[in-house]
């Protein structure tokens, strides 16, 4: 019931977001058809505006947009005039999603492992190195990390391709470049969660009952420790699945992340609004999933 209510709330939320994005991007100075060379006559620009209905008042444009949206049509890109936004999403989203899912897997596998080890070995060198590395990868900007990875593994060692998106080999470096930051975050969350869990009452109780320390760590503490990771994974997945401008840009990956940034810079109105909606849908959906997972994992949490 609660989740149904949240789903119902998602509709006005999406409406507000589309309206906001629609108006915001039109507020920015310059338009989609401004170029470094002016057309030969002012009429040419008018023809463009008429064709794409930019000469109408904004509320009318928005009404038209909603009408198209009701038919599942996100409109035509104003920069890539042969493509509509549906094409762009259909071509880019699967690529960004596979990259995102792989990076998510990498972040989870790496982060949970490191987090678990550092917590289990608290105060020893494995903890210090692990924690430091986790902190370090959170602090290195992606646009520094990615070129460094390329320089070392693709250019100098020649183990992997430098860019493009063709074979599984092409995916390794972008997945690492994208996932490492989140792996660091997950490791830190897991470590904290573990340490908290090990002090919690029920673990103390279990320890008092004489459970072996390893079993304690794995069976009991770990389950509570992943709770913050679970709640973090909603927004994390939304970020990962909608692609990363930096990684897609540097590795020349035909995903949707590049569009998310470039469409704003290009004032490609329809693409901006379409992608904002896509992002919001993913975020809302994933948060729902996360909260649902939460109720399963932690019975203390109840939604009414």
């Amino acid at each position: 019931m609660y989740f149904l209510k949240r789903l119902a709330f998602a509709v006005p939320l999406l409406l507000v977001i589309s309206a906001l994005a629609f108006v915001l991007v039109r507020l920015a100075p310059g338009g989609p058809f401004d170029r470094d060379r002016a057309p030969a006559s002012p009429e040419i620009e008018n023809n463009l505006k008429t064709k794409y209905h930019l000469d109408e008042p904004v509320w009318k444009q928005y009404g038209r947009y909603l009408g198209d949206l009701a038919h599942g049509d996100f409109g035509v890109s104003l920069k890539y005039r042969n493509h509509n936004v549906n094409d762009i999403i259909a071509q880019g989203l699967p690529v960004s999603m596979s990259l995102g899912v792989l990076a998510f897997g990498f972040a989870m596998a790496g982060g949970l492992t490191v987090g678990f080890i550092t917590a289990a070995r608290r105060g020893r060198w494995a903890d210090y190195t692990g924690s430091f590395l986790a902190m370090l990868v959170v602090c290195v900007p992606g646009f520094v990390l990615a070129p460094l990875l390329i320089l070392i593994f693709a250019v100098k060692l020649q183990w992997l391709p430098v860019a493009l998106w063709d074979s599984p080999w092409h995916m390794i470096l972008p997945v690492i470049a994208l996932g490492l930051y989140f792996a660091g975050k997950v490791a830190r969350l897991t470590r904290e969660g573990m340490l908290n869990a090990m002090q919690s009452e029920f673990v103390t109780a279990a320890r008092a009952k004489g459970l072996a320390e390893n079993k304690l760590l794995f069976k009991h503490a770990f389950r509570i420790a992943v709770l913050p990771v679970v709640s973090y994974s909603g927004p994390m997945l939304a970020d990962l699945l909608t692609g990363s401008f930096i990684v897609e840009n540097i590795f020349q990956i035909p995903g949707i992340g590049v569009f998310l940034v470039n469409s704003s810079l290009n004032r490609d109105y329809t693409v901006v609004v379409g992608l904002a909606l896509l992002y919001a849908v993913l975020l809302v959906g994933l948060n729902l999933v996360v909260d649902f997972a939460y109720t399963l994992l932690d019975p203390r949490v109840k939604y009414e």
């Binding site: 040419i44 897997g105 430098v162």
Partner: protein, 548 residues
């Protein structure tokens, strides 16, 4: 103790799920992502993703290079000289007054789908480019035709009044407003290409998504994936198909110079052909290599001064600013690709023309002029801004670097203080066209090989003027030149106009002429020739087996 059974069950299920997903991923990855496409014969890095492949609406170089392979006009450009040679038309006659062109199409022309290409198709294509509903940015390329401008503006509704007509199945007659020296060059420009009428009328704006797409050029469109690649395969029905050298060509949309260089060095690309795809930081090393090729290019980098803002309304001030710039330092220290410092606007090597001398580096004269204008030693000169666009995504920061040098030169020589205003691209364009700046970084790449493409834009009413400079003499000279059928007399008139522009009045300050840069290994790739338009028709490019 507090963990319920539910959670435990979830966990065992989750573990199972994870396992499944893992197995699934491992199985899916190689099959889902390795594409079963044959490798291309030649892979070319073609700069930014083309906005469109519709000849009527494209405006940029990357688009032009791709579209040149797909469609053709009455003429095409010679791969060596970039001068117009017969294309779909095998010959033509020009009336003595230069106003009427009669083109004779080849008789064996067919679309890649097998249907014949006729004179009606050509007339349709030109009228379509002019049609307001097509909303073509470059419709202006057709305004030399009689009544074309009025038809595009909606003042004339009847396309029959526009100066182009099919006389029979293979003859086209074009009627111009003025004798236009470069009209044959224009016929090789994409806006004037022949496009498939039936496909367009059936599918509207999405006609390029149709497969097979009827094409009139040497290649067919096999695949087009945004930000991924454009794949072209040979059109065996093209009239000159025997001379098409390669079967499959891939065009990769890569915008970053470092990525381009990496791909090239790793053997993932054969040719990189855009001057913006060469890392400026490495030019001194790269240009010494035999696989890096530079050539003169029809483009100029210059500064616009806003003459509606004080003190730039005074020609002495503008000339002083021009004289105080050490253009040699800029090309030696910053751009470094062998650019020539520019004292005039029209690049050397432009057809039918030699530019007059402009203003050279002269600090003494600069200070003197500034003093005459009432600002001795820069005293009382207001702070002013210099706008330039930000290079996004880590591309070469050339504009910024040039700006920093200018700031220092004007400060040192004239004692005046300039503010740098870095702007996001669209904001920069807006500021320039609304004259909302003091001085502005600018550049111009010629649309066709003629001085008109450079000098025409500083007439009073041209949308590209963007300086606020209006000069009746200049307007008259340009008009006179364009009505003059004799080429050398025409060149003389253009010269007096350019002297007015860059020497006497100086609303603009030319800095340097661009050079084009390509990189490819001449032992592997042949058929790319340096020319001033940076035009390299795809059909003549071929890969040769390395000789041992």
């Amino acid at each position: 103790m507090t963990l319920s059974k539910r959670a435990r069950r979830f966990f065992s299920r989750a573990r199972f799920c994870f396992l499944n997903c893992g197995v699934l991923l491992v199985c899916l990855l190689p099959s889902g992502c390795a594409r079963h496409e044959p490798p291309a014969d030649i892979t070319i890095i073609n700069a930014a993703e083309p906005e469109s492949l519709d000849p009527a609406i494209i405006t940029g170089q990357p688009e032009l290079r791709a579209v040149q392979g797909l469609f053709e006009g009455l003429t095409r450009l010679d791969p060596k000289t970039a001068r117009p040679i017969p294309g779909l038309a095998e010959r033509w006659e020009i009336s003595p007054d230069g106003l009427v062109y009669t083109f004779h199409l080849r008789t064996n022309l067919v679309w890649s789908t097998g249907k014949p290409i006729t004179a009606d198709d050509l007339v349709y294509s030109w009228i379509r480019a002019l049609n307001p509903a097509t909303a073509s940015d470059y419709a202006g390329q057709l305004f030399y035709l009689k009544n074309a401008g009025d038809f595009n503006a909606g003042k004339i509704r009847d396309p029959a009044l526009v100066g182009v007509r099919a006389m029979d199945k293979c003859t086209v007659r074009a009627e111009l407003n003025h004798p236009t020296a470069f009209f044959l060059d224009l016929c090789a420009f994409p806006t004037l290409y022949v496009v498939p009428r039936q496909t367009i009328e059936k599918y509207g704006d999405r006609w390029l998504m149709v497969r097979p797409l009827p094409s009139s050029g040497p290649y067919e469109l096999a695949a087009w994936r945004l930000n991924d690649k454009i794949r072209l395969k040979k059109n065996h029905r093209y009239w000159d198909a025997t001379n098409t050298q390669s079967e499959i060509i891939d065009l990769l949309p890569v915008g970053s110079p470092i990525t381009s260089l990496n791909l090239y060095e790793n053997g993932q690309a054969d040719i990189v052909w855009d001057k913006d795809l060469v890392p400026v930081e490495l030019l001194d090393v790269l240009l010494k290599r035999p696989d890096f090729h530079t050539f003169n290019y029809l483009g100029t980098y210059f500064i616009r001064l806003n003459v509606t803002h004080k003190p730039f309304d005074d020609p002495r001030v503008r000339r002083a600013l021009a004289l105080a710039i050490d253009k040699n330092r800029i090309v030696k220290k910053i751009t470094k690709a062998g650019e020539q410092p520019a004292s005039h606007l029209v690049p050397d090597g432009t057809a039918n023309y030699t530019s007059p001398a402009g203003l050279d580096y002269n600090q003494e004269l600069a200070r003197k002029l500034l003093a005459e204008a009432g600002y001795p030693g820069g005293k009382g000169f207001p702070r002013f801004n210099y706008i330039f666009n930000a290079a996004a995504g880590g591309a070469a920061k050339m504009h910024e670097n040039v700006a920093i040098e200018l700031q220092q030169m004007w400060r040192d020589t004239l004692g005046i203080e300039m503010e740098l205003r870095q702007m996001e691209w669209k904001v920069y364009l807006g500021a320039q066209s609304h004259l909302d700046y003091d001085s502005s970084r600018s550049s111009w790449i010629g649309d066709y090989n003629d001085p008109q493409t450079f000098l025409g834009m500083f007439t009073s009413d041209d949308g590209n003027n963007r300086t606020g400079w209006k000069n009746k003499n200049y307007d008259a000279l340009i008009r006179e030149a364009n009505e003059q059928p004799d080429l050398s007399a025409r060149a003389k008139i253009f010269q007096s106009a350019e002297t007015l522009l860059v020497h006497d009045e100086a609303p603009i300050i030319p800095l340097f002429f661009y050079v084009g840069i390509n990189y490819f290994d001449t032992n592997k790739i042949q058929g790319i020739y340096p020319n001033i338009l940076d035009s390299h028709p795809l059909q003549s490019i071929r890969k040769i087996k390395p000789q041992k």
